[in-house]
């Protein structure tokens, strides 16, 4: 199974949580201290190990904040 790496753009992430909700591998979680300038908590790529680079978080992110890479 492919291994994935998720990069979340901190300038774009508004912390809606969609990526977290739809990550089947639980690789993403909401941060508890990483705030946007509006005071919103952002998403974290907290469990890199489980990520299989499915890319579903990318299509769920409405703010174009995510890129998913396959680690070769």
């Amino acid at each position: 199974m492919a291994k994935g790496s998720v990069i979340i753009n901190e300038d774009f992430c508004l912390g809606c949580g969609y990526c977290v909700e739809f990550c089947k591998k639980k690789s993403l979680t909401m941060s508890q201290d990483n705030y946007t300038s509006q005071g919103l908590l952002q998403a974290n790529f907290s469990e890199p190990e489980s990520c299989n680079a499915c890319g579903l978080c990318v299509i769920m992110c409405p703010h174009f904040a995510i890129e998913v890479y396959k680690v070769i």
Partner: protein
């Protein structure tokens, strides 16, 4: 100053609460002053964009709710800094975020208070109460409106939401203390 007449800008980005702080101040000021105006300056995109408001309170008629050079500017976020730093009139007061502006402000003709707003607010709860901290600082530093009046407004606003009210009252108190000390 002769007759008492004040104006202040609260500036931040959408969602930060700059407009709310201004409104709380305006409502509190109504108890003491005959005339109060609150004018919001928000861009079309009400999201992630600069937002500020201008509050005037006075015992005489307020001709214009718009004015370029203000007595005090409270700048909660660096996005607004460039616009606002020149709008404080000579002898006025500029209150800003210490974390954002470590370096010195060029202007020497105004008083500057740097507030560690993010730190204070995060300590109390989270950055969402930062606007209340700044409101406190303004009141503490200028004493133009008695802080009890502002407290009353906070209580009205967060009626029934005890948790949030508590956070805000604390934020306000911390702010006032910081402002008085500055």
């Amino acid at each position: 100053m002769g007759i008492e007449r004040h104006n202040v800008i609260f500036a931040g980005v959408g969602g930060m609460g700059a407009l709310t702080s201004g409104q709380l101040l305006a409502k509190a000021a109504m108890k003491k002053f005959k005339n109060v105006t609150w004018y919001p300056n928000i861009t079309t995109a009400r999201r992630n964009a600069p937002a500020d408001c201008l509050v005037c309170y006075s015992d005489t008629m307020i001709y214009s709710q718009l004015i370029k050079d203000v007595e005090t500017a409270v700048v909660m976020n660096n996005i607004q800094f460039d616009t606002m730093k020149n709008r404080v009139k000579s002898g006025g007061l500029l209150i800003l975020e210490a974390d954002d502006y470590a370096e010195n402000i060029e202007r020497k003709d105004i008083q500057v208070i740097k507030v560690p707003g993010i730190k204070i607010s995060s300590k109390i709860a989270n950055p969402r109460v930062i606007n209340t901290v700044y409101l406190g600082v303004y009141i503490g530093a200028t004493k133009t409106v008695p802080h009890e009046l502002v407290k009353t407004e906070l209580e009205k606003r967060f009626e029934g939401k005890n948790e949030i009210l508590k956070m805000n009252l604390e934020a306000f108190k911390e702010g006032v203390n910081f402002g008085e000390a500055a």
